[in-house]
């Protein structure tokens, strides 16, 4: 399996193209992660708008260059609103990212909503191992929003899910794996403290939408988002040191994305 990191010149160039194009990216997400999601997109050079205000779900996905739906947005919005965003994106040809937070954690009504979104053909699906194995029909269950499986265990499942849905599927973990059904690549890197910052995984969903808004190929877009996030995490870890806490890590992560995007130059 190929390994790709942010050292790849095509990936670096693709990441810089986000800031060059400054796409408008619209998303539904949960209110725990919303602030970090937006700041990650701003650091990368995209212009985010979040939330289902009045007629935004039926208008903003058509004007946006990229969309994401973090399904935990159901804590603020009903299922119909999520479907309106997905449907509007599909109708307008705006590529969109599905982040099926906490899928497989034991809430059947919630999972039915998430499954119903697949009909609107997301360009990218990203999640942790428990979520994606469960979504692919596998037999691993999560514990709330934490994964109980390793990303390596999900490799076969994401390839199957990619073939079944037509989406590029990306699983996060110590090594991330990304598949379009035909080809699966490994994106190593990151830092354990990513698991100690709420919304870090969700921000990878937002960043994937920023990437797919600027980069035509969804596989390259997903790889770019994951490789940039992993490198930013490594740079943040190096800056704060091994004993640096999770509060400082979250701040440094945004700083390092901002630097990778060339915004500090």
């Amino acid at each position: 399996m190929d390994k790709i990191t942010f050292d790849d010149p095509a990936v670096r160039a693709a990441f810089r193209s986000i800031a060059a194009k400054a796409p408008f990216v619209y998303g539904l997400t949960n209110y725990i992660a919303a602030n970090l999601n937006a700041n990650v997109l701003l650091a990368a050079g995209a212009g985010p708008a979040i939330g289902a205000g009045a007629d935004w779900p039926s208008t903003f996905p058509a004007g946006a260059q990229g969309v994401w739906i973090n399904s935990a947005a159901v804590m603020s919005n009903d299922a119909e609103t999520l479907r309106t965003v997905a449907e509007t994106a599909k109708a307008a040809g705006t590529p969109w990212v599905l982040d099926p937070v906490a899928f497989g954690a034991g809430a059947p009504g919630y999972e039915e909503i998430v499954r119903s979104l697949l009909a609107y053909r997301p360009a990218i699906i990203r999640g942790n191992a428990s979520e994606l194995i469960a979504l692919a029909g596998g037999d691993v269950t999560g514990n709330g929003v934490e994964t109980t499986a390793d990303s390596g265990q999900a490799v076969e499942f994401i390839a199957t899910l990619a073939r079944d849905t037509g989406a590029v599927v990306a699983v996060s973990g110590p090594t991330d794996y990304i598949s379009d059904g035909a080809r699966t690549v490994a994106v190593p890197g990151g830092d354990i403290r990513l698991t100690k910052v709420t919304g870090a995984g969700c921000s990878l969903g937002a960043l994937s939408a920023g990437a797919v808004a600027a980069i035509e190929d969804p596989l390259l877009a997903a790889i770019t988002a994951h490789a940039a996030f992993a490198r930013a995490a490594e740079n943040a870890a190096q800056r704060i040191g091994p004993s640096g806490g999770s509060g400082s890590f979250a701040v440094a992560l945004v700083d390092e994305l901002y630097a990778l995007a060339g915004s500090a130059e």
Copy 2:
């Protein structure tokens, strides 16, 4: 046109009066910006409460010394709730601030809600150039929540809007302009990274409510909030340096407001 900065002794004294009076400030805002909005008000010495919990919209604006409505609050609240807050503030004589986020970005149902709030006579309206030009009936459209116009282009429009609504109107940009319809002043300063921190503009709306809660003259209140915010941004920029990232900038911005308020002394 007069230029005013935080060097003006009247502005400094007015800003310090917020912490001295410690007003209770109530607001509806969006959940992306809510945390930073509250921390900015706390740093300035006000006591914020945010959100439409049960009968809060019909009771808190009457007990508060200042109120703000960030219209993107519609992502959590219906139009009627926004109007209840505005109406309760008006009936109680509590000055309130309108922040018409994303007005002009292409969502007509949303814009109708925002327009309906003008009937409750906000003391201050603040926004970016795209939002305020559109609200004044001009022909510039935004891109999501980002402005596509420069604050300088909005100068005539904010004076008109001030005369039409009776509110003090403030537009944010590289230079902020603030008008009561008769007089328009320029407040220069700030830092480009304010555009890279989600909720920074929204926090200027919250801070304007904190100011108008403690300072009788709405024009001085708006000037004070904008001048303090610009100076805090400059001090934050100086502290983290030109290559400092947007994550560190957001933290330093709150720190510097806290210092300007005299809370660190």
Copy 3:
């Protein structure tokens, strides 16, 4: 009255047991505090999920080891949803924490909702002095979400409230007091900047749920959460110095909880 701090070996061991057990902790909270609440729980080693997504309120409290309800969650959820979470926790035997934010601030409909939750027998109730004196039937009123009373004034009231409800009751202030109705202990420490960080008090509610999820005795759990939070605040204050601002303080607070939990070792 006994004084207990984080120097107590039983408290330190109890706090470390949270990270060792890594409990799943589910909560309803307000969207201003949600991000900090989750990051505090993650720093302590718990796995939080927040919010009423679809059927989460009727399923997640049963699978969780601890639950908390911050009643300001009514800004996103109706009263019935709060009661569903409390009832599901009670039925499953999951200990839960009630945080009656802004009780006594002049919103009678809201206070009725909060009172209705007491029937589901919280294991711990935590709040500031105004909130708990009002909940105990005393005659002190708050000002929005800020307290107007000192924690020392609440000592008799929390003991009464503990006897009336069967809960351990904890009041925050310059010194925290914690009572099970028979015994009341003082937990000194902390830093004034805790009052300048939005959601800091709410995070003590979340952390109490993390503690009661891992520590069988609710009195020891409440003491542990409060003593760890106070020590983390002191360590944060020492790190940033007396002139450090409230933005840096919030970041350092999370870092220091992470360090106390042993996560940095």
